[in-house]
Symmetry: C2
Subunit: 235 residues, 2 copies
DNA sequence: CCTTCAAGTTGAACATGTTCATATTGACGG
DNA sequence: CCGTCAATATGAACATGTTCAACTTGAAGG
């Protein structure tokens, strides 16, 4: 994973280090002061580089958020890896994965609000539906594919094809709720997670009932349509 | 509606006019150049007032968006009023209401993306969940209460209590999809509306089935919980 | 050791949202 | 008609994201 072909010769040593230092400074400042209050000049200052240098490595402040995503995702993976290795019950896996997410993000709760501002902007590079974020998006969706497929739940193929995407959307919904959640210990969010994950798994079971067959087919067709749409035309 | 008690004596004549002129200029420029590309200086310029004057009437650029909301909501109301007066079938009412929404917003499709950026920010005054937007939010939710209650559908009381809020959330989801929709004539969105409104009405019917009783109770409890949460702690 | 050149680095300059001290207006009491 | 005062109006000044042309570094080739 660290041995790429010989394409960017020097770009590594010095540059790689500067990039890391800058991102690390940004991360600290985001936590200390929040996203909006963190100036690009302040980031450069703490990193010990010039303002221009910061822009050499991160095309915009939002690109720092993109890197922030990747970072959080790695932390998230590390947090829930043990659980995913051991647990096989779908409800437990899902609950653990989402709980792990908000726990991982907890240190950045205060920041998350202003960050979401950029995130929702369709023309921003950090928009989860946009092309720039495709790599990290596919990785996250892949995580939920793993949550699903390595469980012992028997999921019909047509549902299984769309479920990871749906769980990814669900995760974003939870995160948006979490942003607004000021309850002590973020208990409201945790409770919401417990209840919704249970509900999701239960509905998956019910989806086989004859009365629901029609709705299930239609919901899946809808999801497929939406997913295709995102491909073709990203602003 | 125009005869308020004697509280703001002079504030009306000249001020009211300036405010309207500024907003109208902003509206034009948003359409012509998009939200981000529209400068507060440009707005002031076209309105024929100074930069400072604009800030006298609108505390920030985002407050112009708040006014924009109100304006769109009024247009929306006017658009669907005839339908709501005549039609009684819930599916048709809902479909018409949501279709009317995207049709009303159509002239601002290009702008909507960058506007949503501010909208999603929890600390922004235009955040739909925030306190500043409460008035307009309640109005919009009220619209969906009317869509529901003046139909001939028989909706259980517990569902009816939460449905308007859910439909309001649903409407926002549709709008977010619409923002990304570049299909000719925005057909993808219209189709999505047709299918989802049908699905919603069908699910409302199914909610009475014994097998779904449990899930229904839990979903409603969840929604109630979420709604309460938004009250207490708005960032 | 010198040349070369791409990668890295720099800070001044620019655009734009926002603030603020100051000036102008115009209705109203006298 | 005059003085008063709140509402209204103004533009300079400020902060900050972003751009850019110029400068520095250091490894590779000779």
């Amino acid at each position: 994973m660290n041995t790429l072909p010989v394409v960017q010769p020097q770009r590594t040593k010095r540059g790689e280090n500067s990039r890391a230092v800058i991102f690390s400074a940004a991360l600290e400042l985001f936590q200390e002061r929040g996203y909006d209050a963190t100036t690009m000049r302040a980031i450069a200052g703490r990193a010990g580089v010039s303002l221009g240098s910061s822009y050499h490595y991160f095309a915009s402040k939002e690109h720092l958020v993109l890197e922030f995503y990747r970072h959080m995702h790695e932390l998230h993976l590390a947090t829930i890896a043990p659980l995913l290795g051991r647990e096989r019950d779908l409800a437990a896996r899902l609950r653990g994965a989402i709980r792990g997410l908000v726990v991982t993000c907890e240190p950045f709760h205060a920041v998350a609000g202003s960050i979401f501002s950029s995130v929702a902007n369709p023309s921003s590079p950090v928009n989860p539906f946009g092309p720039t974020a495709k790599t990290i998006r596919d990785e996250v969706i892949g995580l939920y594919a793993e949550v699903m497929s390595d469980s012992d739940a028997k999921i019909p193929a047509d549902v299984a094809a769309e479920l990871p995407l749906l769980l990814w959307l669900y995760q974003m919904g939870i995160l948006y709720f979490w942003i607004f959640d000021n309850s002590p210990g973020r208990l409201r969010t945790l409770e919401l997670i417990d209840q919704t994950t249970d509900l999701i798994v239960r509905l998956l079971g019910l989806a086989n009932l004859p009365v629901l067959r029609g709705s299930r087919r239609r919901v899946l067709a809808l999801v497929r349509g939406i997913a295709e749409g995102s491909h073709g035309s990203t602003a």
